[in-house]
Amino acid sequence: MNRPDNEAVRPLAWLRRVERWTAAGLVGVILTLMAAQVVARYVFRAPIPWSEEVACFAFVWLAFIGGALVAGEEKLLTVDVVSPLVGRRGRLAVECIATLAVVACCMLMVAGGVPFVRRLGGIGSPAAGIPRRWWYLASALGLSLIALHAVVNAVAALRRGSVEWSEDDGGTEEPEGRSALP
């Protein structure tokens, strides 16, 4: 069973585009900073004191925005033992339960995280002085996006009346989201 081919007709296509460019950009930032650090340290003998910290900051954002991107593409890592055991309706039920669990998690994290972020205020990181609230904001924003994708994808599945899981392909199509996992 194939996924919808035309990315543009999928719900929230614009948001996925923004997530793709942001996540790819964050990888580029991490690479640039770490390569610059190598050059500064070994070529100019003048290490950049803040490069690693800013790269860590970009990495935290990459984790959550990348997570949202993968969630939007319905490729979050799962343990699939149920697909051979349930039919079409069973899959819809499993998908609904999973969506509820994901949304509950995200909402609890965001609800707990926002007051925490506010309370921390503007305490800065040691080298670059990035306020802690900007670090924690990544999880609040990323998890909100994941909840949004989970709901939109579940509604789309209910409207279609079927769920598309990558294991349906039975090995004939590469599971892209898993393509370089260790």
Binding site: R20, A23, A24, L26, V27, I30, L31, M34, A35, Q37, V38, R41, C56, F59, V60, L62, A63, F64, I65, G66, A68, L69, V70, A71, L76, L77, T78, V79, D80, V94, I97, A98, A101, V102, C105, L108, M109, A111, G112, G113, F116, V117, R119, Y136, S139, A140, S166, E167, G170, G171, T172, E174, P175, E176, G177, R178, S179, A180, L181, P182
Partner: protein
């Protein structure tokens, strides 16, 4: 009691096909909500702080090296060079398969990247030369296991960060076990081709071999940067990873196999894979904090000590346990959950954390080749076009080879510890 409830909840949620990150997060959040004296803010703090280790920065960079190696056609160049090298030997493509994995593993830390990159080249080539498909699939899958054991290894970085050991030392500890696996696989190939006289040698021209060698020679620069840089103490693992990405990128530019679209695809693929893994790392950080708060490591250690006081029996139990865990969870998630629990017991038995690390990683990567969640099985099916059931049948005999290697690595600690000690890092 609380711990048992947490573990059961995670297992039930995983079986209900809830994404791994959220199967870990939901029981953790329930624990935080129901506990007195802690607020939900701690969940945000623990999940985010778990990602802030500078060592973890090496992960997206090594993932990117693997993607670049695939995009720049390094797999094909290695294949042509090694085919020329092993050509005169009977069953040469079997040895080419293993040797390609060894060289590719110096650039990539992920079994799935190896299986995707090399599988796409080797499985069709072996089929064309008359090798049975099941043998080609099984050997490609098994030799892809060299990738996450040989440095750079993403599971090794995760283990080192979680266990608080040196990444360089753990990288050094993985070299000999990875080479041992390659040797054991070569022995299997040798035994196999003895029964197949039809798998004739494949002798090419001397000019062709020289051309292929010159084309593949620059590829060997990446391992020099990564292995030489880290083990020689020149680079930190993160710096080595950045240098390897730049080198592989320049290689792609020199081979004229990089385009702007290709660059974007590499960045995007890296972002996707990093997002998948790191969301789990964030959730596992929270889960790990809770299990530590509930004194899980102490409880597990006491329980194991109640069963045995023999370190070999302990290691055997660890193997059985991790092989079962590896059948369900991919290695990074499994390491994040099990390392904090098993390490204190291992320390009690005087087992080196480096030795335990190699044993745990080897155990868990074998799970990548076992259903129901054998990710490498899916990738092999995808790149070869073979049905899933045929891939599983092909891989089955090689699981025995992998288990033999696992037992050797488990019960002969010197296999893991000799090199770090020789280099003065272990």
């Amino acid at each position: 009691m609380i711990l048992a409830c947490l573990v059961i909840a995670v297992v039930v949620l995983l079986l209900l096909r809830i994404p791994v990150a959220f199967a870990l997060m939901l029981p953790s959040l329930a624990y935080v909500v129901l506990s007195e004296g802690i607020t939900l803010g701690i969940a945000t703090q623990r999940a985010t702080n778990g990602l802030e280790s500078p060592h973890l920065l090496a992960i997206p960079l090594f993932i990117m090296t693997g993607y670049l190696a695939n995009v720049t056609g390094i797999a094909e160049r290695l294949f042509r060079f090694l085919t020329g090298l092993f050509g005169p030997v009977r069953g040469s493509l079997g040895y080419v398969n293993v040797a390609s994995s060894v060289i590719f593993s110096w650039m990539s830390g992920a079994a799935i990247a190896d299986a995707a990159g090399l599988g796409a080249v080797l499985v069709p080539a072996m089929r064309r030369r008359g090798y049975p498909e099941s043998f080609a699939l099984g050997l490609t899958g098994a030799s892809a296991m060299i990738g996450p054991i040989m440095p750079p290894s993403i599971p090794a970085i995760v283990y080192a960060v979680t266990a608080g050991v040196s990444i360089g030392a753990l990288f050094a500890a993985g070299v000999v076990p990875a080479l041992l696996l390659a040797v054991v696989l070569c022995i299997y190939v040798w035994v196999y081709v003895r029964r197949r006289p039809d798998l004739a040698p494949d002798v090419g021209t001397r000019e062709g071999f020289v051309r292929a060698t010159l084309a593949a020679l620059p590829v060997l620069g990446a391992p020099v940067i990564i292995l030489g840089g880290i083990l020689g103490g020149v680079f930190t693992p993160t710096e080595a990873a950045a240098a390897a990405v730049v080198y592989t990128f320049l290689l792609g530019a020199a081979y004229r196999s990089m385009s702007l679209t290709g660059c974007y695809q590499v960045l995007l693929g890296t972002a996707r894979t990093t997002g998948s893994i790191m969301l789990i790392v964030a959730a596992a950080s929270l889960f790990g904090w809770i299990t530590a708060r509930e004194q899980a490591p102490q409880i597990v250690a006491q329980t194991i000590l109640g069963v045995t006081d023999n370190p070999y029996v302990f290691l055997l139990l660890v193997n059985v346990f991790l092989l079962l865990v590896g059948m369900l969870l991919e290695p990074v998630s499994a390491l994040l959950i099990t390392v904090p629990v098993l390490l204190p017991a291992a320390v009690y038995f005087n087992i080196s954390p480096l030795h335990l690390g190699v044993v745990m990683i080897l155990n868990l990567v074998i799970g990548l080749l076992t259903p129901p969640v054998g990710l490498v099985l899916y990738v092999l099916g995808a790149v070869s076009g073979a049905p899933f059931s045929r891939v599983v049948r092909g891989v089955l005999p090689f699981l025995i080879v992998l288990l033999i290697t696992l037992l050797l690595v488990t019960f002969v600690p010197a296999i893991s510890l000799w090199l770090p000690r020789a280099l003065g890092v272990g």
